[in-house]
């Protein structure tokens, strides 16, 4: 037999060993015992360090739920009100805790209800393991009751998925699932388990976490020559500019990143998901990128000479028109996923690898510098932006409140220490722009997929992930009504989350576009809402609705001091627009201030 010469080689031993040491491996002496597939699954979850499961039972997953009855003390199960709520909660949990989120759902509709959350987790690289029940193996393909082909439905939106039809496969498959979900560029994994495999008894020989799969390379090997080339470009640069994304957070490389930024003295701007990787107040943090990002970072993208992209993927909402994006610049791209290199923006130097490893190498190879004149340009643009956009948003003279002043007031009370969970739309952009983030993993939002209805369930999960922190969900009136059933989960679990509904009685972002680009033809964007405070009260949740500016500070204080969940509705001005804005099809330097 000929040796296969070009296959991927194992290069993730360090990670593997590290992750094993983090996990209490079950003692090897324990004799093989006869247990069901369901019990084996739960044993595996415990060894993987899972403590919280978000789920919803149903016919095809009943054996697992039956087994769970005996594991009540080791595994906390949160009963959600809809599977989509379950998976968003697991996402919130994973994003704040840095652990793998776990979801249980039944077959058929239970499984299909996960699809939105899977797509969201896939595009935002959130580590999840979803367990779905499936009909008996002998019924597969027969249109049995609550049968769907969940493997094929979820293939495009999972990092990996697998159907288990025999319980003896389970320990290996679960080990693989956790390894794949959390290693490399993280992502969601779905394991579909047929009912017979859940019931089937087999000799459980213990559980060993997986540390390598021969065909899977979680991260590329660091190439010293690229580090060297990148350092040379950076050292020679007159106007270098750093763009950073969630990769810094996922790679747990915040310290390494700060060291790089501080030694190089290069201004750094963040993508929506990168927010918080370094504090908002950091002197070299020049703001947010993209369609509703800050003025300077967008305009100066087209003036810099070296663009250093770290753990970000040049989403179209960041780049605007690609053929007019940073054409003058040499591009250095640090990414763990080789498929991201050159996908949208042509790279001059590709720095492959985990930024936890590459950033220290790069920091060591660069000269200590400052760029005062270049940084001053950012400050000049900031001054213009403050004058024309930020000041009227944060300190308005209008009668009605703006979204921005609510965020500003919230900053003053939380001092940037709270976890801010946002939904999708105008309030999301305003919150990301103006919220203060002192800590990493304190910004939870649906970035890539833009899933309305994400925030309420994600906030529940975020609170389970970081119980010691204040969790504030900021949601629009539209998005809130997409998953408001999860107030039931808040009620049942006594989850101490704070919900702020910024109510402008419109689907604000679509309305903004209709105003700017469709001659104010407001097509189906006016929204009537129920009495949110009464709705909260029906769930036993405290609440208040305010529309007067003078009530804002005291009500926010009251909300945060309240023991338990609290819903605050703030009536804000109806037709405010989020600016600056890079209109679709325009270059980032054509960003509009009004």
């Amino acid at each position: 037999m000929i040796t296969f010469r070009w296959a991927k080689k194992l290069n993730n031993m360090e990670v593997a060993q590290q992750s094993i040491s983090e996990i209490a491996v079950q003692s090897a002496e324990s004799p093989a015992k006869e247990i069901s597939g369901s019990a084996a699954l739960l044993e595996a979850l415990i060894i993987e360090g899972v403590s919280t499961i978000f789920g919803y039972p149903g016919g095809a997953i009943m054996p697992i739920y039956d087994a769970l009855y005996d594991y009540n003390e080791q595994l906390k199960h949160v009963l959600v009100r809809h599977e989509q709520g379950g998976i968003h909660a697991a996402q919130g949990y994973a994003r704040t805790s840095g652990k793998v989120g776990v979801v249980f759902a039944t077959s058929g509709p239970g499984a299909t209800n996960l699809v939105t959350g899977l797509a969201d987790a896939q595009i935002d690289s959130t580590p999840l393991v979803c367990i779905t029940g499936q009909v008996f193996a002998h019924l597969l393909g027969t249109d049995a009751f609550q049968e769907t082909d969940v493997i094929n439905i979820t293939t495009p939106v999972t990092k990996w998925n697998y159907q288990v039809t025999d319980a003896t496969e389970l320990p290996e498959v679960i080990a693989k699932a956790f390894y794949i979900a959390r290693s490399g560029r993280p992502g969601p994994v779905l394991i579909d388990i047929t009912k017979n495999a859940q019931i089937q008894k087999f000799k459980f020989k213990g559980y060993t976490p997986c540390n390598h799969i021969r065909s899977y390379r979680p991260k590329p090997i660091v190439r010293p020559q690229f580090i060297q080339q990148a350092a040379e470009l950076i050292n020679a640069a007159k106007k270098p500019f750093i763009l950073f994304g969630q990769g810094v957070i996922l790679g747990k490389a915040e310290k390494e990143f700060a060291a790089f930024v501080e030694k190089s003295g290069i201004p750094a701007a963040w993508t929506v998901l990168g927010a918080g990787a370094i504090p908002t107040s950091h002197p070299l943090n020049v703001g947010m990128l993209g369609m509703h990002g800050n003025y300077g970072p967008n305009v100066l993208t087209n003036s810099c000479d070296v663009l250093i992209a770290i753990g970000m993927r040049f989403d179209d909402r960041v780049t605007g028109r690609l053929d007019k994006y940073a054409k003058q610049a040499k591009v250095i791209h640090l990414d763990i996923d080789p498929a991201e290199i050159d996908k949208n923006v042509k790279t001059t130097v590709p720095v492959w690898g985990d930024c936890k490893e590459t950033l220290p190498l790069l920091t060591a190879a660069i000269e200590e510098k400052t760029h005062p004149e270049w940084l001053q340009l950012f400050n000049d643009y900031t001054r213009q932006e403050i004058e024309q956009v930020i000041e009227p948003e944060l300190n308005p003279t209008t009668d009605e409140m703006t979204m921005g002043e609510v965020i500003k007031q919230l900053n003053e009370i939380t001092k940037g220490e709270a976890i801010i969970v946002t939904d999708v739309g105008q309030h999301q952009m305003v919150a990301c722009r103006y919220a203060q983030f002192n800590n990493t993993r304190s910004n939870v939002t649906s970035g890539g997929l833009g899933t309305m209805g994400f925030a309420l369930p994600a906030a529940i999960g975020a609170k389970f992930g970081t119980p010691e922190k204040d969790v504030v969900a900021i949601i629009g009136d539209g998005g809130f009504q997409m998953t408001l059933q999860e107030l039931g989960t808040v009620m049942q679990e006594n989850t101490n989350i704070k919900i702020i509904i910024l109510n402008n009685r419109f689907l604000g972002m679509v309305r903004q576009w209709q105003e700017l680009f469709n001659e104010r033809r407001y097509s189906f964007v006016e929204m009537k809402s129920p009495d949110f405070v009464q709705l909260a009260a029906a769930y036993g949740i405290a609440g208040k609705s305010i529309s007067d500016r003078k009530d804002l500070p005291s009500t926010l204080e009251e909300m945060l001091a309240h023991k338990g969940a609290y819903l605050l509705e703030v009536i804000v001005t109806r037709e405010n627009n989020v600016f600056p804005m890079v209109p679709q099809g325009c270059s980032v330097s054509e960003i509009r201030l009004k």
């Binding site: 037999m1 000929i2 040796t3 296969f4 010469r5 070009w6 296959a7 991927k8 080689k9 194992l10 290069n11 493997i151 094929n152 293939t155 495009p156 990092k159 990996w160 998925n161 697998y162 159907q163 496969e169 290996e172 498959v173 693989k176 794949i180 997986c210 540390n211 390598h212 799969i213 021969r214 065909s215 899977y216 390379r217 590329p220 090997i221 190439r223 996923d337 080789p338 498929a339 290199i341 050159d342 996908k343 590709p350 492959w352």
Partner: protein
């Protein structure tokens, strides 16, 4: 890049584990970009347990490179290469079914078959099946030749391609490795260890 200006045929070779559902995972990488797969063949490779996909598409090199990276990202994919037609030796197989009477009556048919290198696979009282292998033009050519003689059935296989082990290929490999860093060309000690390796 060099080939940006136009589309051309590319042969994509994918080395994979043999697992249910992988075909779909690979196929949707093309279909999500609305790219038609011209030919797809799956077969064993020179390494036991490692499977090989041969995929032919008509695209620009830039797109093909992105597709290959996204394919290689899949957990069960070991390695992906792409090559132009010049970089591979490729063949397709075609079967033709004709009435045995026609062949017996018309001497010219026999001659045409011989000229086109067709081999007889089966002779029955009522029909005869011929086979040719070659490039698309060759099998197409015989198809059009046989049409006037009452061709009963025609079928052509997917393309199979062997990468030319030439300097060109090695350069390609190095380029691919530079852009998409795998290991240097080294032995993979895990692939021949069988059960000792964590596989499913």
């Amino acid at each position: 890049m060099e080939h940006q200006e136009g589309k051309q045929e590319f042969n994509i070779t994918v080395y994979t584990e043999n697992q249910v559902g992988l075909l779909n995972r690979i196929a949707i990488i093309f279909t999500r970009r609305k790219i038609n797969i011209d030919s797809l063949n799956t077969s064993p490779s020179e390494v036991g347990s490692v499977h090989r996909f041969n995929i032919v598409i008509n695209e620009t090199e830039d797109v093909v490179r992105k597709l290959c990276r996204q394919i290689e990202k899949q957990v069960e994919v070991l390695k992906v290469y792409y090559h132009t037609n010049e970089d591979v030796i490729w063949q397709e197989l075609a079967l033709y079914k004709l009435s045995t009477d026609v062949i017996a009556e018309k001497v010219s048919v026999e001659r045409l078959l011989r000229e086109n290198g067709a081999r007889t696979v089966a002779i029955r009282k009522d029909y005869t099946v011929f086979e040719t292998t070659g490039h698309r033009e060759e099998t197409d050519n015989l198809l059009s030749i046989l049409q006037p003689f009452g061709l009963i059935e025609f079928v052509r296989s997917a393309r199979v391609a062997i990468i030319k082990d030439s300097e060109g290929f090695n350069a390609k490999l190095r380029e691919f490795e530079r852009l998409e860093p795998g290991e240097e060309v080294i032995e993979n000690e895990f692939l021949n260890e069988g059960d000792q390796v964590f596989t499913m």
